[in-house]
């Protein structure tokens, strides 16, 4: 009996010794700063001025701020355009990677390259690609006979430029996730359908898409939250320009932090967090709802 108790209590000690270090830094350097930021959203906190409670003043300012409205619209539009495109291209790429072929291994290796390159470097490369006078993007455009596009200097051009560069960087990730989902679909389902005379497209719609649904939802969740906080690529490609047209919410928050207005920057960050939370709950909810219908 005594032995048993000492074993149980030593288990507790081990639990603490091995688990605590894993929790310590994330709590101290992720959770704490985040909570402080949320509280700070209700503070007047500007460099060289005493910090004081401001209630909802920052949020009142948020609601009336045209720059914030712009940022919010850009970010939501970016999500609405890029996430569906990422999913479509990612699915195509995943299907390609699944086909039995001598080239399969090569494709599966190469797909990791855009994913593995630092976003900052990808941003620099795409900045060069979009160069107005001699970038390859306009070189291709001019080959088709169309006039050169002012990629980074016009608001539509910059939006497209960011979407395309982001696609290049993120489609591989989506494809890898979807490939795992595709590989989990039992092959005998396809054989059965083939025996029943179902066509290529019919098999895709009736078997692949529904069985891929849970993985799709994971991919949508990850990509939406990631697109919501997009920063690196925009910081390098346009710095939010021209005239704030491509300033994402994260970039706007960053400019206030750097500019010394911590209170307002915190309010914007809190807004981003709340949207992320809402998106997560919504995606999970829709996902569950769909599967309970089946």
């Amino acid at each position: 009996m005594g032995k048993r108790i000492s074993r149980a209590s030593s288990d507790t000690v081990w639990l603490a010794v091995l688990l605590m270090p894993a929790l310590l830094l994330p709590v101290a350097l992720i959770l704490m700063p985040a909570l402080c930021t949320f509280v700070n959203g209700c503070m007047q906190d500007v460099t060289f001025m005493p910090r004081r409670w401001a209630g909802l003043a920052n949020y009142a300012r948020l609601v009336q701020d045209p720059a914030l409205f712009h940022s919010l619209r850009f970010t939501l539009l970016f999500i609405a355009v890029s996430v569906p495109l990422e999913l479509a291209c990612g699915l195509l790429l995943a299907l390609l990677m699944q086909v039995q072929s001598p080239l399969r291994g090569m494709l599966r290796a190469l797909v990791l390259i855009p994913w593995a390159i630092p976003a900052a470097i990808a941003g620099r490369v795409w900045e060069l690609i979009y160069s107005y006078n001699w970038g390859p993007a306009n070189y291709l455009v001019k080959l088709t006979g169309a006039p050169a596009v002012n990629w980074l200097g016009s608001s539509t051009g910059a939006f497209l430029a960011i979407v395309i560069a982001d696609l290049w960087k993120t489609v591989p990730f989506v494809a890898i996730i979807l490939l795992a989902g595709l590989s989990a679909i039992p092959e005998h389902l396809y054989r059965q359908a083939e025996v029943d005379g179902a066509s290529f497209i019919r098999r895709f719609v009736a078997i692949t898409l529904p069985l891929l649904r849970p993985v799709m939802i994971v991919a949508i969740l990850f990509r939406t939250i990631d697109a919501l906080r997009i920063f690196d690529l925009i910081y390098i490609l346009t710095s939010g320009g021209p005239g704030g047209a491509t300033s994402s919410l994260s970039l706007l928050g960053y400019t206030y932090f750097v500019g010394g207005d911590f209170g307002y920057g915190s309010a914007i960050s809190t807004l981003i967090f709340l949207i992320a939370l809402l998106v997560a709950l919504l995606v999970v909810r829709i996902g569950r709802f769909g599967s309970s219908m089946r």
Binding site: D11, A22, L107, L128, R191, E194, R229, S250, A280
Partner: protein, 280 residues
Amino acid sequence: MFVLSTAGERRLQRLLYAAGFCGALFFLLAPVIFMLLTALSQRPDFLGNNYVMTTRHFREILTTPSLHFVRYCINSLAISIASAGITTIIASGGAYVATRFPFKGRTAVLLMILSLSMFPQICIAGYLYRIIAAAGMVNTWLGLILPYIAWIMPLTFWILISYFSQIPQELDRAAFIDGCSPLRTLVTIVFPLAAPGLFSTLLLAFIFTFNEFMFALILTNDHAARTVPVGIALFQGLHGELPWGVIMAASVITTLPVILMALLFQRHIMQGLTRGAIKG
């Protein structure tokens, strides 16, 4: 896998596959090839002009002290290796007890860790800067290593849990009965069995920290601790015009090891990624 019935369908699929493969190859590789071509070109505007090859951009980036590129590389490597290594070690202990000892609030702890990885970085950055500044660690290696450990811990933890839960518990129970402590069991029994999983986790943690941008941008001010992505992002020309050849040479040098790692350890990385995502 599609099983195709008619010869017509089969031919159509082969054609589609060829077209898709070429398209995918172009999409994935064209920017990287362009980066390499620019780095090796005398001038950046070589499209439609003569291509004159040179290695001078590579020599310039590696030998010009005022560019600090070599220093950025050392910073990046040291910071990423330290963060990835320490995180994997610490997380493996935590993930081990989380898979082996059912305790009160286990689900709550796991969910909290998972939700930490969902926090947008901008929500952390402002106060993280204040904490690191208060500790006097801005612009030091440690000032980036500690946040990085915190930042990749949730993902690392989560991937390791999925690997560890696949190892039969009977093995370490046998070790317990022989009187091994949990730590010793972890090191002598679980580590060897989970070696491929640990390696995948380490690789992913390295790539994530090596590529991280926002924290590195905020927490460093010069070459003492600045990492390569920030260094390349903030590259300014000495004479106004951006030195594209030099920037691309730096990008090639930085990307090369990452690409090599991706090609060599493709299976490990893919496995780690899908585990991290799908279990999450």
